[in-house]
Symmetry: C2
Subunit: 155 residues, 2 copies
Amino acid sequence: MKNIDFMRRAIELSINSVQIGGGPFGCVIVKNNNIIAEGSNEVTLSNDPTAHAEIVTIRKACKSINNFNLEGSEMYTSCEPCPMCLSAIYWSHINIIYYGNTRLDAAKIGFDDNFIYNELGKDLSIRKIPMKQIYKDEAKKAFLDWEQKVDKIEY
Amino acid sequence: MKNIDFMRRAIELSINSVQIGGGPFGCVIVKNNNIIAEGSNEVTLSNDPTAHAEIVTIRKACKSINNFNLEGSEMYTSCEPCPMCLSAIYWSHINIIYYGNTRLDAAKIGFDDNFIYNELGKDLSIRKIPMKQIYKDEAKKAFLDWEQKVDKIEY
């Protein structure tokens, strides 16, 4: 299969998703030229605000290869990933992202992707959701424990 | 209970997490002065790169109230959320975030939070993970279907 076939499948999933009551987003993850996982937006279907197409698909792909690291994989997604999904892609070590619509296309039909990208770039003190640092000395303990742990699994 | 008690619980979860083989992060979500969900980092335990403490806890909180919208809730997290988790907080409409450690503290013990924040602020063309737009005309169909759908559930 070629790039265009994988993207066609992601788009097909995005179209089907609207029909079954999900958001208009679809995704596939490919490794060694095979689709190892596919998914679509299930936020309202599963009452899970994190269930964007890319997150759903990353979780399935990791389950399918029994590993939290997707290095060597490609993502095909019907829309530029929102910052939650893009960060998840970084954490999962996917190597390349192909996308169709953009965050501005998503904004035009009412989605907050672009707004959240802008919020993340702001200083904490001026974001819409207030962030307050408290109890910081006590919070250090787990980090010290982590540093000292000899058999930790890094990710 | 007071702020300090909720944060103490998040910190306790972060410390326990290191002991059971997870990452050093813990979180609770509070609504009407009650903890409705708590969680810790399960990335390596569950082979899920999205299973950060905050994502795990958001998913549990939504399940507990059977809704994808957590408006009226507070998050207490042992560390400043990474951009994946912060974006998930925006999508879930949590109202305020209390945190202990910072992204720079996390960087010092080897986590990529700060690196990913920096990547998200860059133009797509110079990011570490390449992003290529393909097949954009075909991708528009699901967005048009979404716009025209009369019974859609927005989130």
